[in-house]
Amino acid sequence: MLLDFALPAHDRKLIPEGRLSGQTPWVIAIMLFLTLLVAAVGLSLFDAVQKGGEDLAQQATLQIIEPDPVARAAQKVEVSRILRDVAGIAEVNPVPDGDVRNLLKPWLGNDVIDTDIPVPALIDIRFKKAPDDATLNALKARAQKMAPKIRLDSHSSWMAPFFQLMASLIYLAVAIFILLLIATSAVVILAVRSTLNTHRATIEIMHMMGGTDLQAARLFQRRVALDALLGGVIGFGAAAGVILTLGGRIAAVEPGLLAGASLPVYGWVALAIIPLAVTGLAMLMARWTVVSALKKML
């Protein structure tokens, strides 16, 4: 394929190469810009889900829902002590009552929290590795000996709908990515057919002189490859600018669900490969289109 790209100068003249003078490089640039943005979104979400999923799967929160505040405080201390001795638990962090109240204030108000509603005591637990249901049940049973009224929530279970949404968005990004690649291929095919029609007389003459289909196809491959490469560079440059700008904005947002949404290094490598892959794809499409069209000639 690379050898096909490196045509001698005199062969190149057979099909004039009007670089950036035609519409094809610009159309490919726009298609690649959109393709790269979709790929960047997909890769960022994938990375965020991977990192977030791993992190959340290792976390759980234990709630002590004892209505008596004195007993609740005592149980919180005791359960925390027991949990610290359990193998497989990396960290145990009792959440200060003040933090829990602050968390609920926006919904319930200061007065209600302080007087009427028993606010559960919370203990955040981080496991060394994601626990299975049996581990969680055993842990719950152990804690219930100190505090009968408890609830143990794995973070991965309550975040599951969020990750399902993320997974759906990733699938959507993959689907749009594939559709854009198909559209880009269609653009290449149309461009090659148009060029083929423009230079049909030249190709026919080459044929009559004993030129092979592949000799003709190489001319188009080179032209299309140059268009695709130029379009790819422009599209990549524009997409990289947008991704870096948005990345900066996202980084400025308060840490939360968006905090993990950044394009990882392997994502940048993948984005850089896409224009090259599209160039290769364009060359293949050009060869296929030209050879298919020429087979209709004798």
Binding site: P8, L14, M206
Partner: protein, 237 residues
């Protein structure tokens, strides 16, 4: 003597229309010179298209260079076409290429190295008197100059068979004579030459040339030469 071309009961029709060529049976021998004549619409260009493998016949058999040209696989056609030089009636020069590049085209297609084609192309340019116009594009050449370029392009690869459709139609008598001399020189080297022409004066230029006459798609053979081995050719002074 092994033939270059053998037609056996060949017919050609375009689409579902009537036959353009009907029951053509003849043999062309190596080193022979043939003039193909006939009124406009008689089928000369169609016959030439069969000869330079631009079409396959609707029926009949064609052998070319000892091979069945009808069943020849498509991927072997380029090899056969490189053995045939063609001068098209409408020249068919590549408009964005210079005179030099147009003439060099068959050699480049055949994979001749640049260093090896400079000399023959320069020689050919000199022979057709267009050395000064080597860089000119076809659009800037006169009809006669374009025709000379088309002929130079057809003969530069020293084809085994040369097929020319009205090759002297746009040149003055002196240039026509020089071009015929070129064809004759090629013929002496063993090339089979088939020249389609309306110009009956040309027929007298090359002694020993044989005539094929097409009339409404059928071949008549007034000299009977197609049935006999060719005679030595002599250029008439």
């Amino acid at each position: 003597m092994q033939s270059v071309v053998e037609f056996d009961n060949v017919g050609l029709r375009y689409g579902t229309g009537a036959e353009t060529l009907t029951d053509l049976s003849f043999t062309l021998y190596p080193g022979s010179f043939y003039f193909l004549t006939g009124a406009s619409g008689a089928g000369k260009t169609s016959l030439l298209k069969l000869l330079y493998l631009a079409h396959r016949p609707s029926r009949g058999a064609i052998r070319m260079f000892g091979h069945d040209a009808i069943t020849l696989p498509r991927d072997r056609l380029p090899g056969f076409r490189r053995r045939i030089g063609v001068v098209f009636q409408d020249f068919r020069l590549v408009q964005h290429l210079s005179t030099f590049d147009n003439i060099a085209l068959p050699l480049r297609i055949a994979g001749i190295l640049e260093k090896d084609l400079l000399s023959p192309v320069t020689e050919m340019l000199d022979w057709i008197g267009l050395t000064e116009r080597a860089d000119a594009r076809p659009a800037t050449l006169s009809g006669g100059e374009q025709q000379r370029v088309a002929i130079a392009r057809a003969v530069i690869g020293r084809p085994e068979m040369l097929v020319a459709d009205e090759p002297t139609g746009n040149v003055d008598p002196e240039m026509a004579r020089r071009l015929l001399q070129l064809f004759e020189a090629l013929n002496r080297l063993g090339t089979t030459v088939i020249v389609a022409t309306h110009d009956i004066h040309l027929l007298q230029e090359i002694e020993g040339a044989q005539m094929m006459r097409l009339d409404k798609g059928r071949l008549s053979d007034p000299t009977g030469s197609l049935r006999h081995p060719p005679r030595p050719l002599v250029l008439k002074n």
